[in-house]
Symmetry: C3
Subunit: 125 residues, 3 copies
């Protein structure tokens, strides 16, 4: 059910993109009760100058390697779960060389009736 | 008012993309009380390996031809309307060769004050 | 905290894209209480035929130069603030040659716990 969209600058290897996807999904499974086979991810690669991010907002030091991770998911996770999710995404991405300050995450919450995962059915309704 | 974003792999013909857009819009008009001239759609084509989807989650059989359809629309549709919308999108896409299992739909609901359709006005407020 | 995604046809100059980003951000700062250094923007450029918009819905006259501006931000702005934001975005874009009717804006509201602006922290929680 989560639909993950990762926006990053063009030019990273596919191996890297794949590792990023694995790390984000593993964190969702580990921290947010997402089933292991519930993985749906899109990677939007844009020219570096089409991705504008303030270098220090929020008390961090961003680089051009910033990853913007937008996750659409069902509402209902607690603040604690969300916090743990952010920390775990960053920890797992760190294992692949991503700096913690280069991870921006935004969650968009929807209701369970808002998904159809195939066959024209309201999967969770 | 719906803003539709369809993500699909690169390489499909423009004729196909156009048919997909027509089918989705016709379903919105038919099932979700969307005006016929209220059509706004973006097609995001990504390299096939930048679109990761589990092959069977939700009890279906997905192929690389998966369409991810994200629809931002005003809140308030009932579960029945949403279910009918999913079924009708899939039925109409099927007329253009899209397999039912290759259609993933996610709705993001907003309030009517959240749109400006031109001229800097809050169109529905 | 706002995350801004602008979808436009391919082929505009980087100078124009940059001006668009500056104008939108200035309006957010001026009208919606967004900190000056809280700027995060992605520009999605698509082939012109991948961006479908009805020419007159909403009582305007759209051209192929349409900008679709999606803003994910914290919930809580009043209708008046949103209306002022739309008007100010259009006014500022107008200074760079954008027609008012070629500006479509959609707001997606989330809660403050839904953001991590780096370091794996829930920035506003």
């Amino acid at each position: 059910m989560p639909l993950v969209r990762v926006t990053l600058r063009k030019g990273r290897s596919f191996a890297f993109v794949h590792e990023v996807g694995e790390a984000i999904h593993a964190a969702l499974v580990s921290q947010a009760n997402v089933p292991a086979d519930d993985r749906f991810q899109v990677f939007d690669e844009v020219d570096a100058d089409r991705l504008i991010a303030h270098a220090t907002y929020g008390g961090v030091e961003r680089s051009p390697e910033l990853l913007i991770i937008e996750i659409t998911l069902n509402a209902g996770r607690t603040v604690e779960i969300k916090s743990n999710l952010y920390a775990d995404i960053v920890r797992r991405l760190g294992e692949h060389g991503v700096r913690p300050d280069d991870v921006l995450i935004a969650l968009v919450e929807v209701t369970k009736e808002n998904w159809s995962f195939g066959g024209g059915r309201a999967t969770y309704a």
